[in-house]
């Protein structure tokens, strides 16, 4: 199996661009990634594209070929849909194609256009990631099901809204200076606690924003990197994926996310690494409680111990394990289908040293990306490492 390098990364600004189509957004991110890699479009042998709500928001399915033409590539192109983990899954399939020797250069990425419909439309679109028969018809929303997880977590382990507020404060602080971030402003714990409730115990500032945007990465085999003298010092060390029952009520434990744990186990084993080896990570903080559940599933904290990690300063910029130095979904934004490869792009730049927060982890050599779909019925975990 060949080593897979992250040869280039690209992203649009994440924000509200109701007038921009997904193809337009992905065209910007994908061509930026190709330029960053120094790879011509005609070298690309496959496009792995993540998108969640194309049918419901834009009336557009069959988006793989559109994504390829948007970046000037004529190669087999497939759209992957796994809710908020769509481009995490697309990235994993792209890694497997190169690792298996089926392709030397591929593009993985994703895009989402969400703000062109009103809040009710977005809420309805996002809710389709839940079980339509048993959850959505009963009034479940995306924040609503995470609120049930938070309620179950508090009941099982304790923790407070103030603990969760520190996650939001941390991630907002990290986004300052990130040119791609939806929000670049500090907030305080009191802002989070006093914000209007969305689904109790979660309020507006416990939730990521609804963002439009796109991201892309170029992957290349070790031989292609050497032959073309690419500057590609970051490689994929391990990949993992897990699934779980779709409806939250059907899970063994409402306060745990075993799909993410399974993905992490697979990625760590493939890389020959463990949680103690990770220097920086980007985790899927669609809600503040989601960051806590992620850190516990990934093995950084025992169940019940992760809720106060940000409050204790362990996961802040200056902590032992900086988490979401990009600003996370919370402040960088969450254009659903773009999030997984956006995390890969942020980690790659942290490890290369050209990230706005690179000085928070100057000696980092291993990064972890955790991307989750729905209430973590889908999860991918990827480990990146500096190779030289």
């Amino acid at each position: 199996m060949t080593r897979v390098h992250v040869a280039g990364v690209g992203s649009t600004h994440f924000g509200q661009y109701p007038e921009r189509t997904s193809r337009d957004l992905f065209g910007e991110a994908g061509t930026a990634a190709l330029a960053d890699a120094g790879v011509p479009g005609d070298a690309v042998e496959g496009v792995f594209y993540g998108n969640f709500a194309g049918e419901t928001v834009e009336g557009q399915g069959h988006a793989g070929p559109l994504a390829a033409e948007a970046i000037g590539v004529r190669a087999p192109a497939t759209r992957y849909e796994s809710a908020c983990a769509s481009s995490g899954v697309a990235f994993r399939e792209a890694v497997r194609a190169v690792r298996a020797g089926d392709a030397d250069v591929v593009v993985a990425g994703g895009a989402e256009r969400l703000s062109s419909v009103d809040t009710a439309g977005t809420t309805a679109a996002l809710a389709t990631a839940a079980d339509e028969l048993r959850e959505v018809r009963a009034g479940a929303t995306f924040p609503g099901v995470y609120a049930l997880m938070a309620d179950a977590y508090f009941a099982a382990y304790g923790g407070t809204r103030e603990d969760l507020a520190h996650v939001a404060v941390k991630n907002h602080a990290n986004a300052i200076g990130n040119e791609h971030a939806h929000f670049q402003r500090e907030i305080e714990v009191s802002d989070v606690l006093e914000a209007p409730p969305v689904a109790e115990p979660l309020g507006l500032y416990d939730a990521c924003p609804i963002s439009d945007g796109a991201s892309a990465v170029v992957l290349a085999s070790e031989s292609y990197v050497a032959e073309h003298d690419l500057d590609a010092s970051v490689a994929v060390a391990g990949s993992g994926q897990g699934s779980d029952r779709l409806a939250l009520a059907d899970r063994d434990d409402l306060a745990r996310t075993p799909a993410a744990a399974a993905a992490a186990d697979e990625a760590f084993e493939a890389a020959g690494l463990g949680p103690d080896d990770v220097d920086v990570c980007e985790v899927h903080d669609c809600f503040t409680i989601a960051e806590v559940l992620a850190l516990e599933a990934l093995g950084f904290y025992a169940p019940g111990e992760g809720v106060a990690a940000a409050r204790r300063g362990e996961t802040t910029r200056d902590g032992a394990l900086p988490v979401n130095l990009s600003g996370g979904l919370k402040a960088k934004g969450h254009p659903v289908g773009a999030t997984g490869t956006s995390q890969i792009g942020e980690l790659t730049r942290l490890l290369r040293g050209d990230h706005h927060n690179a000085d928070a982890a100057p000696d980092a050599t291993v990064g972890l990306a955790h991307n989750a779909g729905g209430t973590v019925a889908s999860a991918t975990v990827h480990l990146l490492e500096v190779v030289e």
């Binding site: 079980d131 309620d151 409730p197």
Partner: protein, 117 residues
């Protein structure tokens, strides 16, 4: 539109004869299922849903789906009924840990769903 299996389950709950599917290893599931989603057993039999369940997680939703726009804010809960957990609207003031019964209601889009009281 009819959703075979799921609608039969809702009909039964509405008539006070709620049921779940049980496999030989006592895993519970809801129809339609051809096999047990936990262990894959094809030997599924109907068993009566307990008359009372226990609330295990509760939220109050302030930004609702379009089908619940007129009722927002509303409460959503997960309740354990024997070997299965159900998701439904929660009426009244019951809290996590309290006992509830289950019935069927319709939202503004005409979709039937479970309600706990």
């Amino acid at each position: 539109m009819t959703d075979a299996g799921h609608d039969d389950f809702l009909d039964a709950v509405a008539e006070g004869e709620g049921f779940y599917l049980r496999c030989p290893r006592d895993h519970g599931s809801l129809p339609p299922q051809h096999v047990c989603p936990t262990c894959g057993s094809a030997e599924l039999v109907r068993d009566a849903l307990p008359g009372e369940g226990t609330l295990v997680a509760v939220t109050r939703i302030h930004v609702g789906t379009p089908a619940f726009e007129d009722e927002t804010p509303y409460r959503l809960a997960i309740a354990r009924f024997g070997p299965v957990r159900l998701t439904g609207r929660l009426r009244g003031n019951a809290e996590r840990g309290d006992a509830v019964t289950v019935d069927v209601a319709e939202n503004a889009a005409g979709e039937r769903h479970l309600v706990f009281e």
